[in-house]
């Protein structure tokens, strides 16, 4: 064999090896392009801000419990904050749900420990509590952010955390003032890590203490300026505090001042709303303090949007919600909120009236807090503070705007309080579950008229006012056992 040939073979092999050999950085080069690491997020104000924006996007989206699996298993009745509120709405006497989405909430049959409602309400709120804890701790530990920025975002985190603990306490525990020692809600103020373990449930008093502390600490540091009305600012945090105090009922002065801070102090101008008759779909209304924003293109949850997609019978949607005829009778003909129509001419009692309060499109915004509600909270607080005249004046500020023929109330005592509560239902129906909320905190029954599709009475303080604790939580939390649902 010729040496030349051997040489050729060797050169060829070397060339082939060089051609296909790899550099030293071969394994270092690929980077995770799916997202940003925590150190990047908390190094820059604008990225921290985008974390907060991400949360509000998730509020209004199509929620499911796993962001990482690439699959969306969301359901219309458990899609976001709006769905939690509509489930409360539909538990009352004023609205009636056809057998469509939310039918089990409507029938008060949806509190089982394995049910989707329970799963959603539990996981959704706790998910945001963890985000808030990540935000607070991430901002605190950052060496790149200035102190003003830190204070601002810690305040945002605390307001969000308080908001969700408040929802959990409302949904998963009996009324606060019945028994404050009831322990059903575990509390966390640190972000979850891989080694975290579920906490034991805390007494309701501890939960409310955290809610109040967080809000009171957050309000001074929050700013009024914000990126948009879907963000929590100082006014919204005051509004949340006012709502919490409606439940605790132990500081009506603060309830009044917080509500005033939220609506600005001038009731007559605060209640002016462009949305009545306009479809309740526009966040820019001065009356609206807080809401979900949708634009119909890249910001929309499509058909998930309650209350609009449920109550609007005039466009392609679910057409599932009807109005109790007796509730309709509470509105005078000149009340601009009297938007009830008998479009079906149906013989079925529950299908007599629908409302056009909410107009559904993919661009509909959703109200989460309005100044009008704050004015009514102020009125309620004035009543409890003994200032019945002030209460009547505040009530009339709203009533006179809605109905030109309204006359100022002459009610006193319980009748005045009842009138305020009725006005809350008339003003806020469909939005926040005001009937359920008021019945729970004032320990009242929910009595349905016989026209209902599912007529029933929920006794005062019934267990139907709160949900069972999620079974998978009990299974995975070493500090909780089945007895919590007994």
């Amino acid at each position: 064999m010729k040496t030349k040939n051997i040489f050729k073979r060797t050169v060829l092999v070397l060339v082939l090896v060089v051609l296909s050999s790899c550099s030293k950085e071969f394994l270092e080069e690929p980077q995770n392009t799916a997202g940003l690491s925590e150190s990047v997020v908390f190094s820059d104000r604008s990225v921290v801000q985008s974390f907060v924006s991400g949360m509000y996007d998730r509020y209004k989206g199509q929620w499911d419990d796993d962001l990482t699996d690439g699959v969306n298993n969301s359901n219309v009745d458990t899609g976001g904050l709006y769905a939690m509120y509509f489930a409360r709405t539909i538990k009352g006497n004023d609205l009636i749900q056809a057998p469509s989405w939310f039918l089990f909430d409507y029938a008060h049959e949806n509190r089982g420990a394995t049910f989707r409602r329970v799963d959603f309400t539990w996981k959704f709120n706790y998910e945001f509590i963890n985000y808030a804890n990540v935000l607070i701790r991430g901002v605190e530990n950052s060496s790149d952010l200035d102190d003003a920025t830190k204070r601002e975002f810690i305040a945002v985190g605390k307001a969000i955390r308080a908001f969700h603990y408040f929802q959990l306490a409302l949904e998963f525990a009996p009324n606060y003032n019945n028994d404050r020692s009831v322990a059903r809600i575990p509390v966390y103020t640190e972000p979850a890590t891989g080694s975290s373990e579920g906490n034991p449930p805390s007494p309701l008093s501890d939960v409310y203490n955290l809610i109040l502390t967080d809000l009171k600490e957050a309000i001074p540091d929050l700013r009024e300026e914000r990126l948009g009305k879907s963000y929590i600012n100082k006014a919204v945090a005051n509004g949340i505090l006012a709502r919490v105090l409606l439940v605790t009922q132990d500081d009506w002065a603060l309830a009044s001042s917080s509500a005033r801070a939220a609506y600005g102090g001038n009731a007559a101008s605060a209640v002016v709303s462009t949305n009545w008759g306009g479809g309740f779909d526009d966040l820019s209304d001065q009356d609206w303090l807080w809401g979900h924003f949708q634009d119909g293109s890249n910001e929309t949850n499509f058909f998930w949007l309650s209350p609009h997609a449920m109550t609007d019978h005039l466009t392609l949607s679910y057409q599932a919600t009807y109005i109790n005829t007796h509730f309709r009778d509470r509105f005078s003909n000149t009340d601009k909120r009297n938007l009830f129509f008998d479009i079906y001419q149906s013989a079925t009692p529950y299908r007599e009236f629908i409302t056009t309060k909410f107009a559904f499109t993919f661009a509909s915004d959703v109200p989460l807090m309005r100044k009008s509600e704050m004015v009514l909270i102020d009125a309620e607080a004035q009543y409890h503070l003994g200032n019945e005249d002030g209460a009547r004046q505040l009530l009339f500020a709203l009533q006179s705007d809605r109905d030109p023929n309204a006359v100022i109330s002459t009610n006193t005592g319980q009748a005045l309080l009842d009138e305020i509560l009725i006005e809350r239902r008339k003003e806020l129906y469909g939005e926040l579950g005001v009937e359920w909320f008021d019945a729970k905190r004032y320990r009242l029954p929910i009595v349905r008229d016989p026209e209902h599709r599912v007529p029933l009475t929920v006794p005062a303080d019934s267990e139907l006012f709160y949900l069972n604790i999620l079974q998978s939580e009990i299974d995975a939390n070493p500090n909780m056992d089945d007895s919590i649902n007994n």
Binding site: E29, D65, D66, N298
Partner: protein, 1041 residues
Amino acid sequence: MKVKKHYLLLVVLVLFVSVSFAQERTISGKVVDKDNLPLPGATILIKNTSTGTSADFDGNYSINASEGQTLVFSFVGFASREVVVGTSSTINAVLQEDATSLEEVVVVAYGTQTKQSIVGSVGLVSDDVIETQQVTSPLRALQGVVPGVNILTAGGQPGNNPSIRIRGFASVNLDQEPLIVVDGAPFNGNLNSISQDQIGSISVLKDAASSALYGSRAAGGVILITTKKGNRNQSPKVSIRSQIGISNPTIGIHDLADPEDYLRLTWRALRNTNQYENGQSAMDAAANATSGLVDYLGYNPYSVSNPIDENGNLVPGANLLWQSNWEDEVIRQDYLRVNHNLNVSGGSENSTYFMSIDYLNEDGPVIQSGFERVSARLNLTTQITDWFKIGLNTSFSRSSSGNPDQTSGSTTQAISWIYGLSSIYPIYARDANGALILDDAGERIYDLGNGLISGQPVNSTRPVYNGENLLASLLLGKERIVRTNYVGNAFAEVNLFEGLKFKTQISFENYLFDSFSFDDDVIGAASNVQGRVSQDRDLTTTLNAIQSLNYTNSFGKHNISVDAITEAYTQTQDDLLSQGTGFLPGVQNLNGSTVPEAVGGNIISERINSYLGRASYNFDQKYFAEFSIRTDGSTRFSEDTRWGTFMGGGASWVVSRENFLSDNNTLTYLKFRGSYGELGNNRTTNLFPYQSVFQTGFVNEGNTGILLEGVSDPNLRWEKIESLNVGVDFEFFNGRLSGTVDYYDKESVDLILEKPIASSLGVNKIITNIGSIRNYGWEFSLRSINISTDDLTWSTGLNFSLDDNEFTKLPQDEIINGSKLWKVGNSIFDFYIREWAGVDPGDGRGMWFMDELDAQGEVIGRVTTKDYDEATRYEQGKTSLPDIQGGFTSFIKYKQFDLNVLFNFSFGAYLLDTDYSRLINPFESPGTSAHPDNFDAWNAPGDLVDIPLLLASNNDHASRSTRFLFKNDYVRLKSLTFGYNVPEATLDRIGLSKLRLFLQADNFFTWQSHKGIEPEQAFNGLTNNRSPLSKTITSGILLEF
């Protein structure tokens, strides 16, 4: 790089080797079989050199050799023969067919081996076996053929790839599919891009010894697909196959109530709710059910306003105005399958070629579903000098399929719709009197059930699926997937010196998944945005480079072979999505969109860098030993946990070559094998599973948003599989009866599991290495040649496996995973659900068992409860895995006729049929379909039945329990081929070498223990509204010249 230094050393060595040569001369001759027929392509090698040639088309060869050297003649399927060169220049060789075909060369990891020398467990499937089946996705051909391979095809969409599990479930969360290697390169495209006619052989590597060289990706086993090649000195061979046939669904779907039955059943449910839930008197309850029925359902398909009377019967004189048989509308009968194929192969003295073109057009069981594919392949090799060979394998495939949704959970999923919407809801819109509503052009309008005419009191608003109509969505919308796959695979081989060979291979694969979806602008969910188009283009590119050195030599009876290999692998996923709305009628292009709704995309890569080695040794073809090692560095793990080393080895002993057995005429072959090794699994769904990041892509009021994904374990590392295999191969009476038995036991340690976290922490799980799972079982494969005469051949084969699976370590004592309980000793698929205790004859309520506790909370027995939430979940001792599964084949050939059948079977598995349960006691959700079985429900106190009373209010009767757990045994005639080969005498006259006419039937017959649903559902035994598979019968013609 380190390896380079080794080459330099080799060069030096080579330069010092001086070789002297004896006098060479040309030897020529002919290689034939025992019938004196030439063996074209037979190889002739000079023993212990790399010099060789191959016989031409007539079996002739010539080679330069010197006296005293030994020529080795070999040919696939024949025993090789050695002849020492003497004085004669002519050496003719007659090769004997190798009954045991132990000299058969099989494709193994990074090379080939003879079957005899395998020490591990390798399942082999030749093209003969593939030919007897019609498999759009080629690996479906493994079902019932290779023991220990569990194959499941979910849904009838043509082109669907099966899920494959080799030897059980070695992982829980990671990809458990086998690694697919095509012609030596890992394949990341869609398997349905490879046509079955291009495949020469499939090797299934099942144990550690055979697959350790694939290291971190071998845990699920490895399937090596080798495409066909041409032979040297072979005149062109053209083969044309054409098949046309029709298909039907294998199994229908569950029975559904017609309108009259549906209304009567719903009436009963309403009455029961009125009477037993709302406390109305029996008379009121019935009257209210009659008056409330239409209102409850929203629609009335009858001519009278209250079609069901107060006794629950149809009112006399009520005329049915319409009836929607959604099943007939949506599921096809007698749909087409067409397949044509052209293969050309051949070779010259130095080069070989193989070219194939395949066309397939197959319809699916659901309207609009179909799969049309053209695939082409060209494989070339050429010997440039006697020491330098290069080759290129290229393939191109494009498929276009109509893909109406048949597997998801969405509203307009075909089967879900049929089960979800009863026959009382019309296809076309009706007015309050039930008359058709026509549009301005006089055409019918699809009924969407959401109030076409505002205020129409009846036949207007459906309580279920409103705003949609499946037919409108399938016929007016469009779901299309185009898959384009290009693979180029180039290699070069250099013989450095005798016994030492260098090979380099670079392969590049470009797989484009392109989906297009149009939702109509007038009808359905996108009508309020004037239509929606979304397009997805996902590009997967794979670049793989392998450098290998192989040294093979023999020293007397000692034969050794050593490999040193490096491999670099890069896979890049490049996705792009865009979606827009606002289209003019008739416009379906994104260009015509007025509102951009979504855009998205990401480019992300992973890499693996590897160093491999293998040494094998045998003594006298009697004792074999082999050892392999692979070190992988994978970017899926952090720098600290990135590298892993995997080793495997095995030995075998051919007992029949020992003196004491060599003369035995009964037991003619006996071989024992054993192997042990470690494999890895790095195939997480996420490419960076050790990082939890803030995901991008959120937006709120125009502001960019990000969200944290959850928590992750930065120290995540490979799953490691410790795998043991022992086996025996045997033959009696020279192959009349042959078989293989294997026992395997493999344990996956460091199992990556979702560790459930209390969801109050705001995250539900963490993915970490926390468990171990063991798979063990027996595999049997038997083959017999029952009759073998000139006219009649009959052979049968049976293979089956008994597979078991159990957790050996878990982070918690018990983890409830849906309907399964994971605990040490249980398999991942052991059902853990509430136990049905029947119907209380007194009140018709369903009952379940619950534990009875004493004051200390100890279980002292069990009692029944009517509260589902209270009921205890019990381990059922039932699993969704079969106890035994396998296949049976029989081949009969009589003169010109042949008949081949393949059955596959599965026994012992259970199915939780939620397709069925949603049809039973469904009336709490008005309008959903119902099974006629509901008529057997409890109706009055004292009824002894197993279906609880029907209720139109919330109840748990159809909730998950043993009530819907069914035995899922089945036997399926998977393929039947009946053929006629035109006799040779006739062929000669028309100038063909082969002409065959045949009938082929696939999935033609299915026997099953639980009816109404396709038995192939899911490994976990859960149903999901899947469409049935197809049974296909085709006639075909095959001709060769």
